[in-house]
């Protein structure tokens, strides 16, 4: 049985279904936890940060990443194929003219392989319902104040694709190594709720 369940109705229902599936031999004990662990294995925002740092120093990689992220990820030993099927990844680049922010309004879809498990606020109804309607206001609450002329593009990851934001490279980082650049990139920066 999966651990860490709260006492909510949905948790009780999931436990019940899991028990029935185990009783009928359709599921081994602990199988769901094991599958989830396998799916999440190696998933951390450090992966997304490596992708961003490479894109900052290698314009050719950046172009390949923005054109077909799934084809570009293997250059860094990464992929989106940890689940039952490979998920399409779309990387969206911030610029002076446009700021991107990602949400899943229907549930909590998220590129776990590149960002690790999603933060609690990403799954909250408040974030999911408000950021599509008033992204500028929500971003301000995250401490992100954008110039009025900067367009905001919200991406709703409610279907088959997953999204990652390519933040703008900060000024004055010309002398940093790829590894040092990766160290500047935060999880919120990869979702679009922070600048880097």
């Amino acid at each position: 049985m999966s651990g860490n369940h709260s006492s909510s109705v949905i948790s009780a229902r999931v436990r019940h279904v899991e028990a029935l599936l185990e009783q009928r031999g359709l599921l081994e004990g602990g199988e769901i936890d094991r599958r989830i662990d396998e799916f999440a294995a190696g998933g951390t925002p450090a992966n997304g940060a490596r992708v961003v740092a490479r894109a900052w120093i290698d314009p050719g990689f950046a172009e390949r990443l923005l054109t077909d992220a799934n084809a570009a990820l293997p250059e860094l030993g990464l992929s989106m194929s940890g689940g039952l099927q490979e998920q399409r990844l779309k990387v969206v680049a911030n610029s002076a003219e446009e700021h991107n922010v990602v949400v899943c309004t229907l549930c909590s879809c998220y590129p776990i392989a590149l960002l690790g498990p999603s933060p609690g606020w990403y799954k909250s109804e408040a974030y999911r319902s408000r950021v599509v309607r008033d992204p500028r206001g929500v971003l301000a609450e995250f401490g992100v104040e954008l110039p009025a002329a900067t367009r905001i593009s919200v991406w709703d990851a409610s279907a088959e694709s997953r999204y990652m934001v390519l933040p703008r490279r900060p000024e004055g980082t010309g002398s940093l190594s790829e590894e040092e650049l990766a160290g500047l990139v935060t999880r919120k920066g990869l979702i679009g709720t922070a600048l880097v």
Partner: protein, 96 residues
């Protein structure tokens, strides 16, 4: 790769259906009955509504479709891009 023909191309204007089905759909309520522009096709997948009902579901193209916030919410200067199955979309004829 699929050999099926996409019904819509980048730049096409489309209107989402305004159905309110019982049970699961991936057409978010806020994006129903709205006009947007196709950004790009994003693969071929069985309709999620069918799969949630235990049916196989015919594979069909899903598209990134971009909507102006004002079209969705009556206000706002941002855009929201939603990924939508072909069945959710109808063509919008350009004004003559």
């Amino acid at each position: 790769m699929s050999t099926r023909t996409d019904r819509f191309a980048p730049g096409d204007r489309v209107r989402t259906r305004s159905l309110d089905p019982d049970g699961h759909t991936r057409l978010p309520r806020y994006a129903r009955g709205a006009v947007g522009v196709v950004v790009e096709p994003a693969g071929v997948h069985p309709l999620a509504d069918d799969r949630a009902r235990g049916r196989t579901g015919n594979p069909q193209t899903v598209y990134h479709v971009r909507f102006p916030a004002a079209e969705l919410f009556g206000a706002g200067d941002h855009s929201v891009t939603v990924e939508l199955w072909e069945d959710y979309l109808t063509p919008v004829e350009e004004d003559p």
